[in-house]
Point group: none
Chain length 226, copies 2
DNA sequence: TTGAGCCTCCTACCGAAGGAGGAGGCCCTC
DNA sequence: GAGGGCCTCCTCCTTCGGTAGGAGGCTCAA
């Protein structure tokens, strides 16, 4: 027997959700709220609240700021977002802010009930259909867009860059690679020029944005293959 | 009947996982790999692969870069991270990169099996114990665990560190904060001393490991609250 | 009121970083 | 065999980064 609260400013939607829960999770007690203020007010009265279903469009809590405020005010209260928004980014941000789940309003009732049941048992729910297909639209940009530059680095330059990324000084790199420090400087200069940056720090930022490790492994692999 | 692959460079750990899966998900076919290269090689042979259990410590794929590379190379392959790391930040980043789940190595075997079963049915798994308590326990542990040092930085020092992390020079930081370059140097020196490192580059590495952004937001929030 | 902590700025000094330019050796390709 | 690319190393020079030490002003708490 659980106590749930539905926070949404559309009475019709609240009723619809309530009907689904009544049918699917019989015996649950249901509270309703149409604003963040109302949530806070009622939550103080009902200590035994198990879960809040929070819409992201409340009049006094636009977007995720409402969730953030709630997490600060009532950290003990598990909150699941119920929203029409379906962006991966929003979903992850909600989880980052401490939501225990994110349910798109387009979710069919069976899936919704299963999600709520899982959450009440302590699990986290994310919409699989949205979360399981990100790379479809993103695979190309990182390698191609972020740094066509990295591809132009020679093997030795990549080795040097890898050590730069670990915070090594020119002197240390020289020792590690068993070459002169002046040679290291030559490599570093070439790296900076190719990456179009002005300092080793910026080179590092470019490098790990462009996933240096992968590229390095690739390079080493190529060498082994050859 | 599913086909799973375990990618971890520790044979003992692979065997341990294999044993758990054998017992808990009987009939599953299990493949093993000790490097990212090996995963790619085998994945081409076994088209019917249903799930990859990926460790974050592979020799040729440090951290999440390996996941990213995998998602690009084999977007159709569902990947669940199995790692000793337990930072919320890492977990969310993994999901953002398209992982279908994140299982800490400390997860008890029953929970592990349940997680895998859920994932094979199309759900997303996040460790509830970690994800469900951010505001309550998060303020303390990161400061305490990852770097007791960062907590000792003053507000101004954090501002400077944030700019260091963007690759800014002392001169630029001075302009941005509208203070003298010598003052910036004073701050930088203090930061290096407190973090126990020898150069700005290393300070940056410590900073982003310890989730500087979060801490900075926290600090700014505190200031607003006051 | 005194002191502690922080921010500010300074001088002086030194080593690290980076640019410019040149040079020899190696390997590969045309 | 003549070039091109890469790695190696050098000198000379400038700028940047970082330390040491001192000093004044501020706020807050004892």
């Amino acid at each position: 027997m659980h106590t749930l609260m539905i926070a949404d400013d559309h009475p019709l939607f609240r009723d619809a959700i309530a009907a689904v829960i009544d049918a699917g999770l019989p015996g649950s007690r249901l509270l309703q709220a149409d604003s963040l203020a109302e949530v806070l007010r009622q939550a103080e009265a009902f200590e035994a609240l198990d879960l809040l279903l929070l819409d992201l469009g409340l009049p006094d809590a636009e977007g995720l700021s409402g969730l953030q405020a709630l997490r600060e005010a009532l950290p003990w209260l598990p909150v699941v977002i119920v929203s029409a928004k379906q962006e991966r980014h929003t979903i992850l941000e909600a989880i980052d802010l401490g939501a225990v789940g994110y349910i798109p309003k387009s979710t069919p009732r069976e899936a919704l009930l299963a999600a709520l049941a899982g959450i009440l048992e302590g699990r986290i729910y994310l919409p699989p259909d949205i979360m399981r297909r990100p790379p479809a639209t993103r695979p190309t940009p990182p390698p191609a867009d972020l740094s066509p530059h990295l591809a132009t680095l020679t093997a030795k330059q990549l080795e040097v860059l890898a050590r730069l990324s670990r915070g090594a000084s020119n002197k240390l790199i020289a020792r590690e690679l068993d070459i002169a420090e002046t040679t290291v400087k030559t490599h570093v200069s070439a790296i900076l020029r190719k990456l179009g940056v002005a300092s080793r720090v910026q080179a590092i930022l470019v490098a790990d944005q462009a996933d240096l490790a992968t590229r390095l492994a690739q390079h080493r692999q190529d060498r082994l293959d050859a």
